[in-house]
Amino acid sequence: MLQCIFLLSDSGEVMLEKQLTGHQVDRSICAWFWDQIISQGDSLKLLPVIASPTHYLFQVVREGITFLACTQVEMPPLMAIEFLSRVADVLSDYLGSLNEDLIKDNFVIVYELLDEMIDNGFPLTTEPNILREMIAPPNIVSKVLSVVTGNVSNMSNSLPGATSSCVPWRKTDLKHASNEVYVDLVEEMDAIINRDGALVKCEIYGEVQVNSHLSGLPDLTLSFANPSILNDVRFHPCVRLRPWEANQILSFVPPDGEFKLMSYRVKKLKSTPIYVKPQLSSDSGTCRISVLVGIRNDPGKSIDSITVQFRLPPCVLSADLSANHGAVNILADKTCSWSIGRIPKDKAPSMSGTMVLETGLERLNVFTSFQVSFRIMGVALSGLQIDKLDLKNLPSRPYKGFRALTRAGEFEVRS
């Protein structure tokens, strides 16, 4: 049971306060909390669950905004954290993105949303589809509408249809002029590669994202060509579990709009699409560095947005780095970022240069690790393939679209 929720800006200012129970939580708790953050130097370093002298605090940080919840009673910590994350998701969904100004401009909507999401400390609904029917988002359309119709309320006058429907995530009488549904496979590759090039760990976390604009109460079935490669799956509440258990078929009535149908993990992949080979050698106070990047395993589609990032060790005084392709930037916090983009056909990109070490230090005694990011459109690297998507209960033939995307998640190369 949560007692109070605060929204703090990135300077620690209380932007919003929502008391949930009869017990009033004093604002001074935020000052205490902010002191903790300052003592840690960074809000990301502070534990998500901490005990203050009077309350237990849960915090979630999104885009510089801290969502802080207080309670005095025992409760499942994950429930509080999940809830705060959902609040953040819903707000960024409503406001387009999340930042201090947006929240301050729309604080009434934020209050309204919180009012419907949690009552007396217990979460009610966080399903964006339902919320959107109760509280209209502050978008341009509704502003125009209100001017045209003269109805200034940004809130629909009827109750959400979903509250009376048998499918709680969807209202019954949806109508779309064009019926369309898009299914995206979005995968992230997490990998750790050792300094001798060996793959320490490589796995894929993937999501099936659906964007549905379908009229009526459609019934969808989605099947995969090779569901056996999935290690563990989690579903949106709309997925019926029996057909999955029996035949690994996803059968569901979709909510309207965008949602995450399923997430999965694929373990023990054998190779990565690109290689990154850093080499460091140091001698009498300077360190030579060279990093080679190239395609290891051609995925068949072009790999773009390749960047390699690493943090210069604290003992490096200065660095002089250059690349034969792409741009190298060294930021104020000693992060060095090499953006390559696409790998050209005619040469292998390489970056090289020298780093001057602190006086008294002969050779570099720490290892840095290189974070690699890339993006491949059109391929799901796990090899997961959609077999077919069937739609039933539809007045007209819908348009179906499929896409796939793989990007690097935590892709780390050690030197």
């Binding site: 306060e17 954290i81 009012d115 009610l124 989690r234 943090r311 604290p314």
Partner: protein, 842 residues
């Protein structure tokens, strides 16, 4: 929305002071109040927004209350919402003005739009003004019967709000019975869920006062109700599912078939997208199968994948919450996770708190087949730029070395660390090498060769320095220049700020002297002289003690200071298994995140109906503090194995100096078998063993040896008689509890009949009263109850205080007894136990 009393009027210079603006707004609102011209609503809306934004930044706008209420006659729903928000915030502090709002809220409760009815009812219940409750009963009653589920849903929570404002009004209006009816019959799942949360809380709080409520609370856990919820589980929203699962976890199925039915029904919840649901389900599975060992293990296998997916899917905050639970499971059953060790590899970008948990798990799952990989991975971290991370990983390598029998490769790695020539790495490694040598003396040859090359000048951290000095003393005969290194350290005695290091220096030079007297004699003299002049009491005493010992007899001194040592087989665990079990019982709660059972930290919890529950909290904090300082606590240290101290007080002790396992050994010698020998000698050395028992008891206490309890030579005390009409007011109880040392602490098993009779704390209170033991405070819910008892001697005002924590699921009771008269505490303890054991028997 700070309440007016604490509003930050001048929180920052950039914020408007408020005064002028507020009166401005007040004027404008007053002008608008009566107006009906078109566009009024827009103007009002702007003003309301302004008022609420002032409220949000903490300016006190309570002065416009009446104007706000006057303007609230509107059909615009956003205006209404803003007004509700405002009223809800200030009504509590302006009860007189709040009366103004009742009228329009009651009218809105009859609006034809269900949304407005619901919102108005919610605001009405959120006013929380005690003298307005009479106006709540009517709208709530109609709200519960409303045709629209949204209104019923709001009303169900409203009942709980009413209960907190005025419990008697709520009970008199018979709302709980109406809620129960709704809960079992409403077709809307959210209404059902809200009824459940309200009823759980109301009956939970009422249970202590009324038998009926206690019975009702029991029926919530009865088979038909539980099955009703289980059958509807898929209708509930994800959050309501968490609440239902929490309830079901308290249900005790009658046989194993039922357990399997429940588990089969809920298995698909493990694939839910919401992590909170998954974790609640896992908790249920674990609790249900506790008694079935092999199924329990299968459950672990089954929940492994969902947990690992949860870790990798969410944000760092979610990962952390899941990881702390995973951590608990890994610690309980490392072998099940040993093939998944790669999941615990740390990523460079992860926050330190996540990495730390992962390191502990890596340490736990290490076994013969994966140790090589894990240690290789850990060595990567040791060279990490992040210093705390590097330290933790070296410690992890050390822990693995202490767990494994084949430490060959690991020792080599550790020694490589020493060659990295980084101060923090060297420091950590030295501490570890010292621990390794205590366990595996056979490695001394290899280690000493490397350690000998380390210049003591490069070691600055006290712990590391102490470890190095210990090794110099312990292996003085193997290290050529040990006496000279020690000598140079002694020359810089005054620059050594850490008392710990100076203590070690004294002991090391003694050992060195006993082995290589001619080379060390001069240094020893200097050390003893410096030690005697030391301002630190312990250092001074140790120097004096060595000096007298040497004067008395050098061979005795050798037996005391440098006896042959036995290798340490197991280092003290930092947490007792009993505590771990208790945390496990509280799976999916804050306990897991803090790695402490809730009774150790949830003192802020409002606990039961007793008025001074706050003080209860203070009490138990104080006990822990007291435990740390009172030496008597050591008496009850486990006497089976001196190395394994499992009492929880030890943990606190360990926690306070951060890593008891890594203290350099000599003062901790009390924990080592060899040293205990020495200390017994010490007793006999001192004086002829004193005949009077209290002194010898005191010595045992001081040494903390936990020797088998000295048989009490005093004539057994006369049977203790207690005063049946003892009185003690809570304040003096609290004071005494804080002052008195702990006389006894034990865990006893209760008979199952007794535990099953313990439906609410009250039953036990009455029972104990029959034995002249009175309760001063009690609280908790099944399965954990906590009581504070007191009793007085019949003939004199000597008081006994007891803290008793009963876990009804494990049938265990934990007692902490304090007494004015320590000598009779044993007798009292026995009396208390016998009284407790009779509980529940006919």
């Amino acid at each position: 929305m700070a309440p007016p009393a604490q509003s930050q009027k001048s929180a920052s210079p950039s914020q408007p002071s408020g005064k002028g603006e507020v009166s401005d707004v007040k004027m404008q609102l007053r002008q608008l109040a009566g107006s009906r011209s078109p566009g009024t609503d827009d103007a009002k809306r702007e003003l309301f927004k302004k008022v609420i934004s002032y409220m949000t930044i903490g300016i006190d706008v309570s002065s416009v209350f009446s104007e706000m209420v006057m303007c609230s006659a509107t059909s615009d729903i956003v205006l209404k919402k803003m007004c509700y928000l405002y009223v809800g915030n200030y009504a509590k502090y302006n009860p007189d003005l709040a009366l103004l709002t009742i009228n329009f809220l009651q009218r809105d409760c009859k609006d034809e739009d269900p949304m407005i009815r619901g919102l108005a009812l919610r605001s009405l219940c959120s006013l929380r003004v005690a003298n307005l409750v009479e106006y709540l009963v009517g709208p709530l009653g109609t709200g519960l019967k409303d045709g629209n589920s949204y209104v019923r849903m709001v009303a169900a929570v409203g009942v709980l709000k009413l209960y907190h404002i005025s419990a008697s009004t709520c009970m008199d209006a018979d709302f709980p019975a109406m809620l129960k009816h709704l809960m079992l019959n409403d077709k809307d799942a959210q209404v059902v869920a809200n009824c459940l949360t309200s009823l759980q809380e109301i009956w939970g709080l009422e249970a202590s006062a009324s038998e009926e409520a206690a019975r009702e609370r029991e029926t919530l856990l009865s088979k038909p109700v539980i099955y009703y919820f289980l059958n509807r589980i898929k209708e509930f929203s994800e959050w309501a599912q968490c609440i239902v699962l929490e309830l079901v976890a308290k249900y005790v199925p009658s046989d194993s078939n039922e357990i399997f039915d429940v588990m089969n029904l809920l298995e698909d919840r493990l694939q839910h997208a919401n992590g909170a649901v998954v974790l609640a389900t896992i908790k249920m599975f674990l609790q249900l199968t506790l008694s079935m060992t092999d199924v329990h293990q299968q459950v672990y296998e089954r929940i492994k994948a969902p947990l690992l997916t949860l870790v990798s899917s969410g944000s760092p905050e979610q990962s952390y919450a899941v990881l702390s639970h995973l951590h608990l499971l890994v610690m309980r059953a490392p072998f099940i996770f040993s093939s998944d060790y790669k999941h615990f590899y740390c990523q460079y970008n992860e926050p330190f708190y996540v990495k730390k948990l992962k390191l502990e798990m890596l340490t736990a799952v290490a076994n013969e087949s994966n140790t090589y990989d894990i240690v290789t991975e850990l060595c990567e971290y040791a060279a990490n730029v992040d210093i705390p991370m590097a330290r933790e990983s070296i410690r992890a390598v050390g822990k693995i070395a202490l767990q494994q029998y084949d430490v060959n490769a690991i020792v080599d790695r550790l020694l490589q660390f020493l060659e990295m020539e980084k101060e923090h790495v060297t420091a950590e490694t030295l501490v570890l090498v010292k621990d390794l040598l205590r366990k595996y003396p056979q490695w001394s040859h290899d280690c000493i060769a490397v350690v000998g090359n380390i210049s003591s000048k490069n070691v600055q951290e006290p712990k590391a320095k102490a470890a190095l000095i210990w090794m110099l003393g312990e292996y003085a005969q193997d290290m050529q220049d040990a006496p000279y290194i020690l000598e140079s350290l002694i020359e810089n005695w005054d620059e050594e700020h850490s008392a710990e290091v100076r203590l070690h220096l004294l002991t090391a030079i003694m050992k060195c002297f006993l082995r290589r007297p001619p080379e060390t004699q001069k240094a020893l003299g200097a050390a003893l002289a410096a030690g005697l002049a030391d301002f630190h009491q312990d250092v001074h005493d140790r120097a004096l003690f060595y000096y007298r010992l040497l004067k008395y007899n050098v061979t005795v001194a050798e037996r005391v200071v440098d006896p042959p040592k036995q290798a340490v087989s197991v280092f003290a665990d930092t947490q007792s298994s009993e505590i771990k079990d208790r945390i496990f019982d509280e799976f999916n709660s804050l306990s897991v995140v803090y790695q402490k059972p809730s009774y150790m930290f949830t003192d802020k919890e409002h606990r039961g109906p007793f008025a001074f529950s706050e003080e209860l909290g203070n009490l138990s904090i104080d006990t822990e503090l007291a435990d740390n300082v009172v030496p008597a606590q050591r008496v009850e240290a486990n006497d089976k194995d001196l190395l394994l101290s499992t009492s929880e007080k030890e943990d606190n002790h360990g926690a306070s100096n951060n890593s008891s396992a890594y203290n350099a050994p000599s003062y901790d010698g009390s924990r080592m078998v060899g040293a205990s020998q020495a200390q017994q000698d010490l007793v006999s050395l001192d004086q002829p063993p004193p005949a009077n028992v209290p002194v010898s008891l005191a010595i045992d206490d001081l040494l903390g040896l936990g020797l088998p309890v000295v048989p009490s030579p005093a004539p057994s005390p006369p049977a203790l008689k207690l005063n049946a009409k003892a009185v003690l007011d809570p304040n003096s109880f609290q004071q005494k509890w804080r002052q008195l040392p702990l006389a006894a602490s034990q865990e006893i098993s209760m008979n199952p009949q007794g535990v099953s009779a313990l439906s609410s704390p009250q039953v036990l209170l009455r029972h104990m009263q029959g034995h002249s033991i009175h309760c001063i405070a009690s609280g908790g819910q099944a399965p954990n109850f906590k009581f504070f008892f007191f009793a007085q001697k019949e003939d004199e005002p000597s008081t006994y205080l007891v803290e008793c924590v009963i876990n009804s699921s494990t049938c265990k009771a934990q007692l902490k007894i304090k007494a004015d008269d320590q000598s009779t505490s044993q007798a009292f303890s026995a009396l208390f136990e016998s009284a407790l054991s009779k509980f529940g028997l006919p």
